[in-house]
Amino acid sequence: DPQERAFQERIDAGQKIEPKEWMPEGYRKTLIRQISQHAHSEIVGQLPEGNWITRAPTLERKAILLAKVQDEAGHGLYLYCAAETLGVSRDALYEQLHTGKAKYSSIFNYPTLSWADIGAIGWLVDGAAIMNQVPLQRCSYGPYSRAMIRICKEESFHQRQGYDILIKMMKGTPDQRAMVQDALNRWWWPSLMMFGPSDDASVHSAQSMAWKIKQNSNDELRQKFVNQTVPQAEYLGLTVPDPDLKWNEEKGGYDFGEPDWNEFFEVIAGNGPCNAERLGARRKAWEDGAWFRDGLTAHAEKAALRAQPVAAE
């Protein structure tokens, strides 16, 4: 297909694809799946952190967390807009989320059980997200690439704030230090799983790489994350909960154990600690809010009608 060939050549030449330009159906579908999954993750991701806003331990921490959650909702908005440029409405994407057809990042199916979890999410979850997202700034699809540039800037800010929570707690009381270690114990493996299974197990990877929707292999990014994170854990004075973790001088990186992929697939399939609650909360918000959205629509229609010139006296 000459059209597809020309498309691939543009991508290979590093050109950006823009909304109104021709693109293969597979490219469009892959992008919609990936962008909407990312958008859903941002909005579901409000819930575990939102769980601690009302209990944040100081006014400053409360303000920082509010700002962060607000940013996440904003990221959701950019991403839904990016997806809309591909011809799918936000409501249609919500529908897919609410019926369980679309996924969101599985990590948000774990509960936030102490204030240290808020730090750990910033440090580890946002850290892993950045690792995934930085290459996406160079994604071949223009609107997605531009959204990622904005998002990455804010995410790295969030990651520093999360780490800062943990630094402060590690300088604190034994109870606080225990909370931090406990948070790392619970979030470490789910964070590693955020990169997805080994690429051998992933069907979409090769095509996505060719299309420059994806730029690095899952294992590559996971290795990079571990290499970056382990020294940070050590700096905090924490023990990474992986007995197989050790520095490998030869490869210039850490060797580490295999995440429990069984758990990963279970949680994706709906069998995680908070799946039902997260999805239930989003569905309820949507259903309870129907009257609100309908009200605004009705008002807009009335206003438009009033604004029309009167046809006949």
Binding site: G50, R55, T58, K62, G74, L77, D288, G295
Partner: protein, 261 residues
Amino acid sequence: MVQATAMQAVVDRAALFDFLLGMGDNTLILGHRLSEWCGHAPALEEDIALANTALDLIGQTQLWLGLAGEVEGKGRSADDLAYLRDARDFRNLLLTERPNGDYGGTLMRQFLFDAWHYLALKGLRSSCEPRIAAIAEKASKEVAYHLERSRDLVIRLGDGTAESHARMQEALVDIWPYTGEMFVSAAHDLVLAAAGVAPEPENLKAEWHALAAETLRAATLEKPEDRYMHKGGKRGLHTEHLGYVLAEMQFLQRAYPGASW
């Protein structure tokens, strides 16, 4: 203030402290209520706007309670005041601690509060106490936006569908008896008004009513009669709801006394 006699300064300090607590407790408690919505609002734009409003209110809390602690002069920080007082020492309006209700209830409460807040801050911008004027200056920019937004939504939902109209009217009737307290002068209000520190609450009433009436008319909602009005918040006599808010909000500071976060 600078030329005040020693006696006056003492009187003013207690009055000033109470007043500043009131401002800071209003923003703290309402900010808490708004943040309960996090992730549960009816549209993504609303999640963003609510978090933004809550954030502004918490930021203002830091300023008001920070100044309150300074004025008190006992070394209490804004955090100490927020996290280590029990309900009886809170000075917020009862309106701010009312449960969220549905999203219409939250918006109606917000509009009625924003209108008052905006007018109060407008008056405080010309306070003879420069630190108060400075906080009011900063806050009133934020609050002008809060008001613009909540007013607009009240109008659109009041004049939306039959259901949205009915919900907004019900929210209005429910919350209305908590609006009178905004205009009741506590002892400290009179002292501060006389000294030019803060406007007398009573004096905001006419303008607030005009603003409310104009908005509710545009929203096709019926403004309730002023009948029985709840009060007590400014004297620390709250509803049964505040205790639960504080138990949740203060948990970490209470459970881990002296820890830094």
